[in-house]
Symmetry: C2
Subunit: 787 residues, 2 copies
């Protein structure tokens, strides 16, 4: 390729040396940053931390991308899968100037370089990984596996953006990463941006070889071709030859990407391109010490972290380090005051084209509010509580259908489902949207198109990772999935929550749209699929997040779901978990009541209570749709059979209100908490999830031990809906029995009534034994306020 | 291929029809099982559940495997990735007779067929999935993604076993499945058995097309070849042509497998074979109704579940169903009494060669106890508590080294790590064992061999899935991993726990070795890697499992770790979670004391307490290594500064002892609980994990609100070890302040002492701000009993 002359490549090589110098400096030096003095032990940090092995390759790529951006004015961000190479990325955003703009103390001079080195991986300093504080990053490479799904999420609906995603050969072994290569099957060249994957093979993990590192080029080529890529190999260790080869390859890949896009945008989509992917093979710890104590380091797993470690105590090691540092010629590449020399500084792009300053990597900057239709229009007309059954999530589907319509021009909303949009009763979105697939469409396909924004793929990892990438670049979406199998991706939600929590500390990180997760197909109504499909554990996972970033909603009916969803779509920087089943269910509140209820987070449902003007004997509390029905039924049964028992029903839609306010911003103040739950009356709490979670939440509330909780108790099988609540001891009869057991004022009256409950449960048991459906008494039950 | 003549294939086709008949019968019929009468609405179940789409393909494969087993006396098990095809597998184990042997009520006659149909997916019946009650299964296809990792785990060290693993094209989209194809890179033909993957593409999920289903054969071929497979395609819809083609292909694959194995076993391992894999393309819902109401069903997503649904109310639908059922000729394939006709019954293998009866699929039958060396030999000689630092996990590495040696001849123990054996200080195993990799070995590799039994792959999913498959087939192992990233595979542990819980109900399922998980590199000592590496959430996940199958151990030192590990290796049917850090840490107990401590589960550490002969003012409790050190330091500080405060120190190694006994079999009876924690004295509890988990565990204990818990509170960054406990409020000074705050008897004395604690914390803060290491007072702290 003739465009890039040798002079420029030689300058780029010097820039790379400068970046490598800063990388090694971060790992080792606590003073003498420009090596103006001979290196002495006291210049060395007391504890050596950081990962050298992957760093030179990451910098090599960065510098070549800078060149591409300069030459073609490319809108590009860089996702470093090998996040351990933090010092390399820090070096590059420092060299291009973005770091100092955000962190003014770290100036582009000797004093700033001192801070850059000193802060790295030290107490009170910066993490050793690419992470939230790193300018230009939307991807923390701590928990490996997601760099490609994040990259594709960022590229969706960003037609001019190219996301370069570096996949380390450790990460390349993870399942989520291997499953993410196929994201090109969902990437439309007409509408979306592009992802340029660079599989950076240096052959080793911490201590062993890697599968792809040890594979032949033919195998890697065959593997990636099968997924749909055109594969370009660049391999070697001679810097100048590698510069030449990589620059040419990058140019080729860029031309191909733009040609595919131009073609599709000019002629319309007519087939999936063979997108380019680069396989870059370089030695691990490239340009570092080749040998230490007669053992090979460069090119082996021993270069993974700190390649020469006795530098404080071993003069020979210190000399190796000094030679290594000086091999990068700091005196040539930085001036006397520590400024990068002008001919090198000229190699970085300018302004927002610098990858550390690209606004896509600080997505809040680009965020447009969703245009939301009035959610109350999708409400169900509830004339009397608990008398009609509707599929609540179907109303949400209609709401989202119109969200798609209202935001068509912004192209900033997507729905992500592991193959269940219809099954989850969200199918009204297909009136206006399609499933996305960039493959041939067949006549029997149902709403499938390369232009669709309903992302159905049977991979929770992909759905979650794509959505995270989409949100982090300033867009909106919802992940709707099976409650039980949401756990497949729960570690990703944890990491996203950590990202959000960290970003709150950084004013320059602008707020992004919340991660909205809808769990439907819940444990209580997976009576047909059985035990493996029954697990409400994600609630516990989200509960462990900090209050600043976590929200859990358990709307009991359609109108509450709409109110909650509207709130979640408007919110920023949260992980919002919404749990509601998809099956037809009794509806309780008018829209007006629902809005008020959801605004409060919990309410006493007076119409279901009989404690007017008196302190109740007992509080029946509930959180979750199915257990709400059981609670209302229990209250109704008690009112019929034991009207002298004063029962208050409290429904909780925002679980976090139960937390003490010092633990969660939604936590009710104590007076309001007591207003609903009383100071000391027994509370029978029917909970959607694992029952003991409530105990951890209400700890610290007045007389917390009076909370007697029933919930999912890991009892399940293929059975009937009602049997599910019976097996877990949260049926209406169980709740009524508990109420009678814990209400001292009426205990003498209750033995025959408790026997009546037992009889009903026995009758139910005989139905199950006979393989019959639920008792008609249960199936047809409706609430009557007149009882 | 000439071996299988047409007559036999025709018989096999009839057998397949019989299996399909039983499959449809299970989905639809509640009576008239042999269709002796014309089909009427009342013969139809009230609620139609089950998945037809994948079922005929699963049966097709089963029947051809039967043929292979018969002809070659193959030792084979069958893992059905599309677990929704439960009725197909049930049909086949019923036809071969294993089902009736295990469930005598379901006899091989008309009455038994009635039960078979009736019980399917009905209350009190059997799940719609392949699952624990299904004979011959070690794999529940509910949570998709693990069929290949389970299959390879089963094949490791089982040289004569062939595991056929069917991958549905839905599951083929998941990350864990895509990451599991490469398991052949760890499968040694000389030592291990074989896995025959069958990618069964029928093109659709519930409602949309699939990525691999829509890919060309060239792409699929290229993809699988790149991983290392030789790919065989069988595709079509004409049954007799497909029988011929599939039988030939199966024969070819079998010959190749045996040839590779014989070669390696005769000539020694000399390179990874190109293992065969089959891609089977058949229509979804093959042989079912082609069209219903003028809409195509067979070959489309509409065949996924119940292809014709109005059969109870729509006469035309009923006729379609009847024609469909009769197309399988029940009257020819079953005799008048419902017995399979002899010429078909003769097609099933005999005895334990029947896949439903193969003992590998009921691994407890083949389980040999591990030969365990005396763990006390690996103990650390602790002369005085808290005076020496050792890496506790290093002692476990030595113990495991000798477990490898003692069990060499049984070949039934493996260690699974995502690339961290050395880093986790378990490296002594490399004195006798190697990392496994079936690729070329290079001179710089460190203990890498195709014969290794240390399974290092950077995939928590693979490690966990392989180990599950290994355990379910009757072997032993340990999964050692980063605490934070263990969450990547937590949904798998949940599903394995569910499997164990279900298996306890089935006396014919023999106990298997426990799933042992070692979490090291814990949150408290990931001060260098930062926030993404800090997360103790797996404790919460395991806490949500039923007490019958879950155990959580937090050994405070090496001797306790050894005692716990020995117990875990001997145990059966549990998920054992062991949490301890790998860094040098203070040692507390002699081996004798450790054994007693671990046997009790928790103890009062008298040597750290000063409450002899009196009721203490306060209890300092702790669970977890780092927080134990902080607690002992707090007790020591208090004894020095405030000797009149009577402090009791209780250490908890078995977390489940805190549970009320009705919730966990390890739960202490109330008297013992009170003996340690008193009836009503404040308890300051320092916990390794998320602090509020303790509240859910101790709920129901006397005066549970007196438990003031500090633990990991989701505060982390790159900092010092001591700063981690400070940030989360669980440092020795925080604990001492809490003790003084909650002990009323001494409150007047304490303000100056509390100020002293504050001063120390401020001093620490200034160290962190100065980017310094920990204060020397902390770094060098040791316990002195004489204070």
């Amino acid at each position: 390729m003739s465009k890039i002359d040798q002079t420029r490549l030689q300058l780029m090589d010097r820039y790379w040396k400068a970046a490598n110098y800063l990388t090694v400096g971060q790992i080792y030096l606590q003073s003498n940053p420009l090596l103006k003095e001979p290196l002495r032990p006291e210049h060395i940090k007391p504890r050596l931390l950081g990962h050298w092995g992957t760093s030179p390759g990451l910098s090599f790529i960065y510098i070549h991308l800078n060149r591409l951006i300069q030459d073609h004015n490319v809108d590009m961000i860089y996702l470093a899968g090998p996040g351990h190479g933090g010092p390399a990325l820090l070096a590059n955003v420092y060299l291009e100037g973005t770091y100092s703009e955000i962190y003014p103390r770290v100036t582009q001079d000797e004093a700033g370089m001192y801070h850059l080195f000193r802060q790295f991986s030290t107490p009170g300093g910066v993490p050793s990984h690419v992470s939230v504080p790193t300018p230009g990053s939307i991807h923390e490479g701590g928990e490996l596996g997601y760099v490609l799904s994040h990259a594709f999420g960022a590229a969706f609906d960003n037609p001019n953006l190219i996301v370069t995603a570096v996949v380390g050969d450790g990460e390349a072994e993870t399942g989520p990463l291997e499953g993410a290569w196929k994201s090109i099957r969902f990437l439309n060249p007409e509408r979306d941006g592009a992802v340029l994957p660079i599989l950076h093979l240096n052959g080793y993990k911490i201590s062993g070889p890697t599968v792809w590192g040890r594979s032949s080029n033919e195998e890697v080529q065959s593997f990636l071709s099968g997924i749909g890529y055109e594969v370009f190999f660049v391999e070697g260790d001679d810097p100048m030859m590698m510069h030449q080869a990589f620059a040419e390859t990058l140019e080729t890949c860029y031309e191909k990407i733009r040609a595919y896009q131009e073609d599709a945008r000019k002629n319309g989509f007519h087939g999936r391109p063979r997108w380019p992917a680069i396989v870059l093979r370089t030695p691990k710890g490239w340009t570092g010490p080749h040998e230490v104590d007669n053992v090979q380091i460069e090119g082996t797993f021993r270069a993974h972290q700190v390649p020469v470690s006795e530098v404080k105590t071993n003069a020979e090691h210190l000399a190796i380090l000094e030679n290594w540092l000086r091999s990068y010629h700091p005196e040539e590449n930085f001036d006397e005051r520590g400024h990068l020399v002008p001919e090198l500084a000229a190699l970085a792009p300018r302004g927002n084209r610098r990858m550390g300053a690209n606004p896509h990597a600080n997505g809040g900057k680009l965020l447009t509010n969703l245009v939301l239709p009035d959610f109350t229009q999708y409400g169900i007309d509830v004339k009397e509580p608990g008398t009609e059954r509707h599929e609540s999530t179907r109303q949400l589907g209609k709401f989202m259908r119109d969200i798609f319509v209202r935001n068509t021009q912004h192209e900033n909303f997507r729905l992500f489902c592991p193959d269940e949009t219809n099954s989850n009763r969200l199918g009204n979105v297909f009136e206006v949207e399609n499933r996305c697939l960039v493959e041939p469409i067949l006549p029997n396909d149902d709403h499938v198109s390369p232009n669709g924004r309903v992302m159905e793929v049977l991979s929770e990892h992909l759905c979650e990772g794509w959505l995270e990438g989409y949100l982090l670049t300033g867009r909106h979406g919802l992940f709707a999935t099976y409650e039980s199998f949401a756990m497949v991706a729960d570690s990703m939600m944890i990491q996203h929550g950590k990202w959000l929590q960290e970003s709150l500390k950084l004013p320059w990180r602008r707020p992004i749209s919340s991660l909205n997760i809808l769990l439907t197909s819940t444990c209580w109504r997976n009576d047909h699929n059985g035990f493996s499909h029954q697990g409400p554990g994600l609630i516990d996972t989200i509960l462990s997040r900090k209050g600043e970033v976590s929200r859990i909603y358990l709307p009991p009916d359609a109108n509450c779901l709409l109110s909650v969803a509207d709130h979640c779509f408007r919110s920023r920087n949260y992980v919002n978990l919404i749990v509601i089943d998809k099956q037809p269910q009794l509806q309780w509140l008018t829209m007006e009541e629902a809005v008020e209820h959801c605004t409060r987070g919990l309410s006493t449902w007076q119409w279901a209570s009989n404690d007017e003007k008196v302190e109740p004997d007992i509080v029946l509390a509930c959180a979750g749709d199915i257990v709400t029905m059981e609670t209302i039924a229990a209250a109704w049964w008690l009112r019929q059979h034991l009207p002298e028992l004063k029962v208050r029903v409290v429904n909780v839609v925002d679980l976090m209100t139960l937390n003490p306010p010092n633990l969660h911003p939604h936590g009710l103040d104590e007076a309001t908490f007591v207003e609903h739950f009383t100071e000391d009356k027994p509370v029978i709490f029917a909970f959607h999830g694992y029952q003991r979670a409530i105990h951890q939440i209400v700890h610290g509330r007045p007389n917390a031990e009076r909370f007697h909780v029933r919930g999912f108790n890991e009892q399940g099988t293929t059975t009937t809906p009602f049997d599910m609540v019976v097996l877990n001891g949260v049926s209406r009869y169980h709740l009524a029995m508990l109420a009678m057991e814990f209400a001292p004022r009426v205990q003498k009256l209750t033995p025959p009534l408790r026997q009546e409950c037992e009889d009903m449960l026995n009758k139910h048991e005989s139905y199950v034994q006979a393989n019959l459906q639920d008792m008609p008494e249960i199936q047809n039950w409706v609430w009557s306020n007149k009882a």
